[in-house]
Subunit: 330 residues, 6 copies
């Protein structure tokens, strides 16, 4: 089986420990993450070969970011080095009625200022079967939009399956700009991951009972193979309930639902994407099993510190269709 | 708008991390707190000018306590220095069926032994619009009772609004002594914060359906403008449900109720007091909005480490009447 | 009142902090535990004299293990020193849908390779009224089985009450070997602690409505005074509900049930055993009070970091039949 | 006595703990510092009123930076809020033969992009007796150069003493640009702090035996009252020896020399500046005492974690001319 | 061989980590120590039976203190429980030119207010061969002076050897009071540990070349068997050089000298006392070996975190007369 | 340029933080190391492709060990998985006169019990130019001796340069066994690293003035290209002075000498080996430059936490022949 290639920004995430507020923090936990990097690391932990593409500054902070994904076996041989700085996001983890807060400090990052022609697209896609990108990358500026478009086009032209996670971040761009970008990029996609809010805001598709109208509209509009709609209900900042619905044009299936006491909410969607890609790339996963596998992977991510899902296939399967007794095994 | 002045003891709080018991603790987290200091810091975080009055020892531990409130912009220019020691309280944070435990070691503190005449009452109340004190201060001994009485009298004589949080601590004094003190101090108050248990124990007022009989009796007895009754139901040591009822003689309003997964229970009442004072000092807060604002502030405190409520007006409002989606904003 | 003697392996437990996965951990929290050591420490914290018997390596890691139980006042004067290594178990604490994981690295430990004749049985049982052992000890190999058998025989011959916690660990031995061992050891026991799963797997006794058929069968088969059946329902990795049923041949009583937000799940059963032994050794605990005391002790253990239950009799009683208000006492 | 005003950038400093390299760090210690902020905090700890001027972003990271200096009593009432980001510098603390490493990520900070006319110069200098700025501020871009020039001109026009620490950072600007800026700014200064390397690189003044030729040339060229030359000899990354020489046109004095085992090297020069300003503003400090006081303050800084010198006048005096027995006082 | 009994106050020591100043500390490391407790723990680590006598409050902080010495095997069966509080001392560890600082908060402790008649002197001295006390205990007030006097008298009357470490703390009492107390207590002593400064301040004995005149005068005046004079030269707060001289009336011997890079300076003298007692109680230690053993023990203490010397006889001997290669043994 | 292959055991290293003794440690820092793994990681940090060969258990602790080297870009594709356990070594870092202590718990590890025929020697040496092994590997038992012998034979037969670090550990095997093994393995080596003590103990070669007689004898006996003798003088546990002498049959060169304040002593020799291999594999390093490069690399390792040298070529060169000013670069 071939490699999965993902492309995007990798940032330094700085977060106070133990529910402290920013103003109290004597230390920040330093982890490195970014939507597409998270997908690559998640896949590597599932045993799937994954290659991550980005640009990191030629300094020790850039190297620390690189090593953080290399640690899990992600192929970093196509990562460019240079530029000025590593993007940062500050994350304050909430609790109960106090929500998580994110402060972005990612402008002018090495990746955001990188250019389409710096990348060696042949090398990037050598041996690749799947390409994954999210709506965060084109949001990072004109350069990054062009890189995104080039990437999906290069992938498509090589017969590589393309998955696109809409991942709309309102602090990065306007709905209008996002909408236009999506309409240029999604035609290259085979698989699209989104949710009701985004469907409504970007595509003017109102929520319906199980999302089937949204899904059908998207499949038709962008000639997609699969649409995944993810659902999240927030009880409070610590407790969320999640599930997902998959559509393949003909069928729709709903995953198991999970009520979660969360450890770290960031990266839950990326873990879903990785789970879905994994399932679609391996035999024996029909649409229902794909939904259940992807959602179980996403659920487990919420129990893991950091952006990336550090779980094995066996762990996902145990939750998805094994006996989730939640007991100590000894 | 003028300043809020609060007066009381500021202590060193020592607590093991991570649910450890005292006997296990290799480290104690050191924060500084005390009911009236907590109110001042909470107000400063809400953007309200606040001045805190106390006496701290002339050593580096006293200075650390002073800096801890100065950090948030509280005016510390009237704090006396001298005396022997900083009072301490040890806090063991419980979990599930194991309750929090407090061990007081606050006798003979610089504040407890300070005297009425050491304080410069003119300077203390210069520019002040509001004065807040709790029932803990008069409980700290004869000196502190006299300071409390002098303070409310000085405030009253200057037309400063006085709020009094009954805050009965049975480990500090007997019901009988507390009752007598309250009867001397409350006549100076405009606003009184208490709860059903205290109403019954100290004022002989039994619980009634929504507290209105308690409130009316207190308003009448002490000629109060507002009585606030706070309610807390404990599911276990981590989960409490809270709400409050405000009375202004004519009307009674009930705040929103919150089911909380708590991070740090201490200071929840002080955060309520600060929220109530803030609302009463600003335009646009009727009794209902005051109740909702104060209770939302109190709720948020339970998600913050330490005694003091480190939240902004925007955060309180988001919870009180905004869209508390508990989602990451990004 | 005499001493309680317990005998078994004491291991180094290494666990990442803060829900981290093994692969992320820069630090392991080091605590020392083992079923019978946990019972001894729990009893010492309840104020009951306890002596722990084991063999620890003659190096500083062995001494650290010894000091860890000595700290709480357990009599360590009969612990042998020598052999090659201290057994280890790695514990990854789960969260929500991700269960705890244990990796044993305990083969060839000083205790596992120790021999029956190294122990001075007269000294071990001097002043003893009660002896406790679990099914983990005979599982550790032929030597340990012989030590277990010798220990219960020596106890019995001296009129010392014997309690046996079945504690079947499938990673240590087969059902078949366990079954044969139990049948040799349980005839020496007066008190047996087990659960429905073990009753079914090892004794072929299917679950019945309240366990009475299991209990009666065991009492009859092994001539026991008391059988305790413990129950655990897992909501997820953080939340378990527990209760227990005690049988004394004539009567059966059910303890209070507890819904727990757990801090540390390991040692919950050992805390139950210690609570039961404590109750049986002291006046004023009938079967119902014994059940309630033991289960409250077990419940509190789940709120304490480490293997051992660091709670006092007053705390257990407060939960068992006091007013468990879960409020801060101050 | 009046206030000291300082103006410059305040950054977030992120450093791994315990001599770890960047690539190893799971945590970064977060402190806030910057040359002129360090001077203000040092002065506040010496008991001297100090006001710090800067611009910080209107987010919680900006507020954390503000609170970090407010904690020590620095007047923050003139700090502007707004702009995009807080500048960052990563600091890897070396050891033995491995030097400290700094990675700057300070471009486009709120301060660097702030403009001369945003500042309320009347308010800034109200009550001021002394103004301090360093060569780092004009290095931060054209805006900052204009702010620097305006500030010294405004100070001078109000009769405020101006001190200028040359502080040449080659990673921020070229020698040529620095030289031109210095020649525009130093004519406003009364006190100049520099060292042999800078004197040679920026002013073409070669090192001489005790620096007197450098000092005389600078005094003459820029009409200065005092020139301070600081000296540092590095044994290795942990051990440095320091001293300073002061010139007032007529006399030259050399401070005591210190051989240091350093805890945190950053801010040593700022502590010297604060010590010198303090001495010059108080009676009883002739040139020799000023040199000794300033150098003792600088020496003590190297034993304090973070950028700022958290020591009292008594501590500085104890080292400068008391009995530095280095014994525990108890 | 019999037990060593020591009597004194056991305190909670609170110290910031990593050279932080008090005002910066988010955490305090909590260890428990006190001169005589330190000696008992040091002896227990050397394998010598030791019993510690004190009074600790009947709360969980008192229990934590008790467990801290029990951990190392010290006999705590004669420790009284009761009284109000555990004494505290805050310790700020200095570095380089910044000395350690101690702030005492030990007044009104359970021990300081305990009374002579609360102690069961027969039980205390049962099985004892040696009694050790320091000049800190009689300094804690009239009660403690009486306890000290009673203790040495009771020891003497039972033929127990008495060692007395002068340990003059000027913050606890005046020279005059100390002198009077020493003159009452030292006549009961067989062994006296002091230094040149104390000899001069308390006994009017000026320093002489190797201390022999001081020692002879003390031996004569108080009819002592052994006088130990300890020497310390401070290079800076991290580096001290130490040695000791022993006198037995006829001979004087000087120990090896040690140049130390210190980790924790507190308890160095107590480790010397423990080493001296150990040597005197065991065969094969003549005066020279005693001096070398005691000083090597003291030296090693300076490399150990906390008040107590956690080293074995083998480690002391390796340094005292083995091959101190300071290499890793593997 | 080709890859460097190294083969050996990778262990979990557990060490208390901050100079704590084992008995005090609440946490162990967990790093992974082993002589040959350290060389591979050091080389990867120098930018040299490196492949590490070992066998790790098929559990999460084994995976953590694997990820720890993969993080730095070491090729782990030939590492076997299986067997029972990961070897452990406990490291207590000393200070001043207290030496580091190591407790091995490495018997029965996956690697120690692995067998020669499990390894795919063709794959292992594909693309390899250099093979490195140490005397620790053959010391781990008969299996490991056979693996070692096979590895050097396979390397030699493919024309791969072989370096051998004698690294005699007396706790693992006797001198006699070591001597016999060396005599079988060294004939395959091109480069041998040893020291005076080993030369004397294993080869009967007494120390001479600059080691030239030792080196000549070894070169002659084993037909070596290069012999490196490393020297270490211990001032105390924190301070060591090191240098090395290289011989190539004709010439001998001595490196620069370094006086070090050490952070972490383990892996200093492995860093030397990696530096020497790097220099020998790259153009422009004559014998003198090789010696200086290797020794500077070794020196820097002593400033890095953990077993592995995380430094770049630029850093080594800066120390080896640049301007080692030990100043902050900013």
């Amino acid at each position: 089986m071939g490699k999965v290639v993902t492309l995007g920004e990798l940032m330094l995430r700085l977060s106070p420990e133990g529910h402290q507020r920013f103003v109290q923090a004597e230390f920040f936990r330093a982890v490195y993450g970014g939507a597409e990097a998270n997908v690559a690391v998640s896949l590597a932990n599932l045993g799937q070969e994954a290659r991550f593409i980005s640009k990191l500054p030629e300094n020790e902070i850039g190297r620390a970011a690189l090593c953080s994904v290399q640690k899990y076996g992600v192929d970093t041989s196509c990562i460019l080095r240079g530029g000025k700085r590593l993007g940062i996001y500050y994350l304050e983890q909430g609790a109960s009625q106090r929500p998580d807060r994110v402060i972005y400090d990612r402008e002018n990052s090495a990746f955001a200022l990188s250019e389409e022609n710096e990348y060696d697209w042949d090398k990037i896609f050598s041996g690749a079967d799947w390409f994954h990108i999210t709506g965060i990358t084109p949001a990072l500026g004109e350069n990054c939009f062009r890189i995104s478009e080039r990437a999906v086009r290069e992938a498509k032209s090589r017969g590589v399956t393309v998955s696109f996670d809409v991942n709309y971040r309102k602090s990065l761009w306007s709905k209008d700009r996002a909408k236009k970008a999506m309409e240029k990029l999604l035609p290259y996609a085979d698989v699209c991951i989104t949710n009701e809010t985004q469907a409504s805001e970007l595509f003017g598709l109102p929520a319906d009972e199980n999302g089937s109208k949204i899904a059908e509209a998207l499949i038709k509009k962008f000639d997609l193979q699969i649409v995944a709609l993810t659902y999240r209900r927030t009880v409070n900042a610590n407790r969320n309930n999640i599930w997902a619905v998959l559509f393949d044009g003909g069928n729709s299936v709903c995953s198991k639902k999970y009520e979660m006491d969360m450890v770290d909410r960031v990266g839950g969607g990326d873990a879903f994407a990785a789970g879905l890609i994994y399932a679609q790339m391996h035999d024996g996963y029909d649409l229902q099993k794909s939904a259940n596998f992807a959602e179980a992977a996403s659920c487990l991510k919420h129990s893991v510190v950091g952006d990336c899902n550090l779980v094995t296939v066996a762990e996902v399967e145990q939750l998805a269709w094994g006996d989730p007794s939640y007991r100590v095994s000894r």
